[in-house]
């Protein structure tokens, strides 16, 4: 899809402002927030449908690498949308409400992970010449590793989709009272529209659209809240005054607000290491034109992601401050041990935003997991759909689409039956990704001596250490990821040194920074 002209951007901006005006009018006329959310999701589906029709492909190879030589001005927006995910929006908000100020470290962890991807992983994978992430791994470790690589990537992708759909369900239930059984299938349809028609060629503009919805969905309500609470028209700076007033009130209540730097550090490192190793965030890079383009896109994506992620804490900080003010004024007890769903529902009750603003936020908070799920589908399809270079009469392309549809179905069922809240599930996913995948990934990019046996030892050791520590009662955000990563790296290096590979892998070139 070609770069948008200034005229196109101006037209879409006017349409967006008009749409927000209509929804505000409907809200003023008494239309409920849930109904307005349904209208937003319907509009999202209509635009995704239009993108899908315009980007349909007829060959499996185009499904994976549509943009290698084409203009791709939308890619940074797509990178940011997939990276932020449900965790970067409603997840961070819920974490701050549940865990307090230590959860601020999640912001630096998430942004830091994206920056590391832009510096290290994105350019290296783009220079590898592979057509997909599984293709690169099989080139790196040999065809004998194929089944294991594909299986691991498929399981990761399905788990990620389940958790992201769980975040969407959390938004629907806690903020709008919509049951997950109703919302999850709708979100699953949006996910399919965002990727199935043309693979990468559909996904990039679709994720860019989803990022635009997410951007407006977070920043417009944040602007309203910041102005209402502090009069500061920049949502990123508004939390300062609220935090200060909240701290004064907490001191008068005798509440200990002293954070735990160790806990905050481990939270940040878990998110940084985990998001860097989640394969859905890597799936795009092998299809980029070259390392310089991949770095450029990832850098621009970092800036866009910061613009959204840094505005999210305002909501949770304001809720917490209002709770403290209420406790100070009326002697009401501060909420303790709330689940993410309870914390979000309490937050909405306290902020009591206009219905149209709540619906806009909901549409943004649902767009984020849809964008992440689209990348995860492409990952699973590329892992299980077959080799696109052996395409015969559309057989591989057809398999890509069936695998993608099946993956969303399985993910939806898992999301509906998930025994824990999506925030806890995502933290667990981050811990196991950092423990099992990160060391083999980084070593495979930086050290030619890493063998297939070494990588396998790293994956198994990291996974076992992570699961064992969690089973012993160690919190998944309390350092499990760091210990698992270390154990995985030691095992990978040791096995590679003991059992040398007779045919070392070709080198990976990482272009220097400009």
């Amino acid at each position: 899809m070609s770069a948008p002209t200034g005229k196109t951007l101006a037209l879409w901006t006017m349409i967006l402002v008009g749409w927000l005006g209509v929804s505000a009018l409907l809200g003023a006329l008494g239309v409920s927030a849930a109904l307005l959310l349904a209208l937003h999701l319907l509009a999202t589906a209509a635009i995704l449908w239009r993108i899908a029709r315009g980007t349909m492909v007829g060959q499996a190879r185009e499904f994976l690498t549509a943009y290698r030589e084409e203009p791709s001005a939308l890619t940074p927006y797509a990178v940011a949308g997939a990276w932020i995910s449900g965790f970067g929006t409603v997840g961070i908000g819920a974490a701050i409400l549940v865990q307090g100020h230590d959860a601020f470290a999640l912001v630096i962890g998430l942004v830091g992970g994206l920056v590391l991807a832009s510096l290290l992983v994105a350019p290296a994978l783009a220079e590898s010449g592979a057509v997909s992430l599984p293709d690169w791994m099989i080139r790196r470790f040999g065809s004998g590793a194929g089944s294991f690589v594909k299986g691991a990537l498929a399981v990761s992708g399905v788990a990620l989709i389940a958790v992201q759909l769980g975040f969407a369900a959390l938004v629907g239930q806690a903020m709008f009272g919509v049951p997950p059984l109703l919302l999850v299938p709708v979100v699953a349809v949006l996910v399919l529209l965002a990727v199935l028609a043309g693979g990468m060629g559909t996904m990039v503009p679709a994720q860019a659209l989803l990022f635009a919805i997410l951007f407006v969905g977070v920043l417009v309500p944040a602007l309203w809240l910041g102005m209402a609470e502090t009069g500061i028209p920049l949502p990123h700076l508004a939390p300062g005054a609220v935090l200060y007033e909240g701290a004064v009130a907490e001191a008068r209540l005798g509440v200990d607000i002293g954070g735990d730097p160790f806990a905050a550090m481990m939270l940040g490192l878990t998110v940084l290491l985990g998001t860097l190793a989640l394969p859905h965030t890597l799936v795009r890079y092998p299809s980029e034109r070259d390392g310089r383009a991949a770095r450029y896109f990832a850098q621009r994506g970092s800036l866009l992601a910061v613009a959204v992620i840094a505005a999210v804490p305002l909501f949770a900080i304001t809720v917490r401050a209002e709770q403290v003010f209420a406790a100070l004024a009326g002697g009401m007890p501060l909420p303790v041990d709330a689940t993410p769903a309870q914390a979000l529902a309490q937050g909405i009750a306290i902020l009591d935003p206009p219905a149209w603003l709540l619906a806009v936020f909901g549409a943004g908070a649902i767009a984020a997991p849809v964008a992440a799920c689209a990348s995860a589908i492409l990952l699973v399809a590329s892992a299980l759909g077959g080799d696109p270079r052996r395409e015969t009469a559309g057989g591989v392309l057809s398999r890509f689409r069936w695998v993608g549809a099946g993956t969303v179905g399985v993910g939806a069922v898992l999301a509906l039956g998930m025994p824990v809240d999506p925030l806890t599930a995502f933290f667990a996913l981050l811990a196991i990704a950092a423990s099992a995948f990160l060391a083999p990934l980084v070593l495979s990019l930086m050290w030619l001596g890493l063998t297939a046996g070494g990588a396998l030892a790293g994956v198994v050791t990291g996974a076992v250490v992570c699961i064992a520590l969690a089973a012993l009662g160690w919190s998944v955000t309390g350092g499990v990821a760091v210990v698992g990563f270390g154990a995985s790296a030691v095992a990978a290096v040791a096995v590679s040194l003991v059992r040398r590979d007779p045919e070392p892998s070709p080198p990976v070139r990482i272009p220097p920074p400009t």
């Binding site: 770069a3 601020f104 912001v107 920056v115 290290l120 990123h236 700076l237 220097p512």
Partner: protein, 67 residues
């Protein structure tokens, strides 16, 4: 293989994620841009520093920027 400057930037990012909570805790009474310093370091200062560390990005292909 990896350029030395890139490796340093990567290590600085990891070190900052680990160190910022401790640095923030050293100045619990500090203020910055209207924020309590610990919150500013984690919510605004750190992410902006990371964007600077990501650096460069001025070498875009003409095909990759809006017309």
């Amino acid at each position: 293989m990896m350029h030395g400057g890139t490796l340093v930037r990567c290590l600085v990012v990891v070190a900052l994620v680990a160190a910022l909570p401790w640095i923030a805790a050293l100045f619990p009474e500090g203020r910055a841009f209207g924020f309590p310093f610990p919150a500013f370091a984690l919510l605004i200062g750190g992410p902006l520093l990371f964007v600077v560390l990501a650096g460069g990005g001025g070498d875009a292909d003409a095909r990759d920027v809006p017309e």
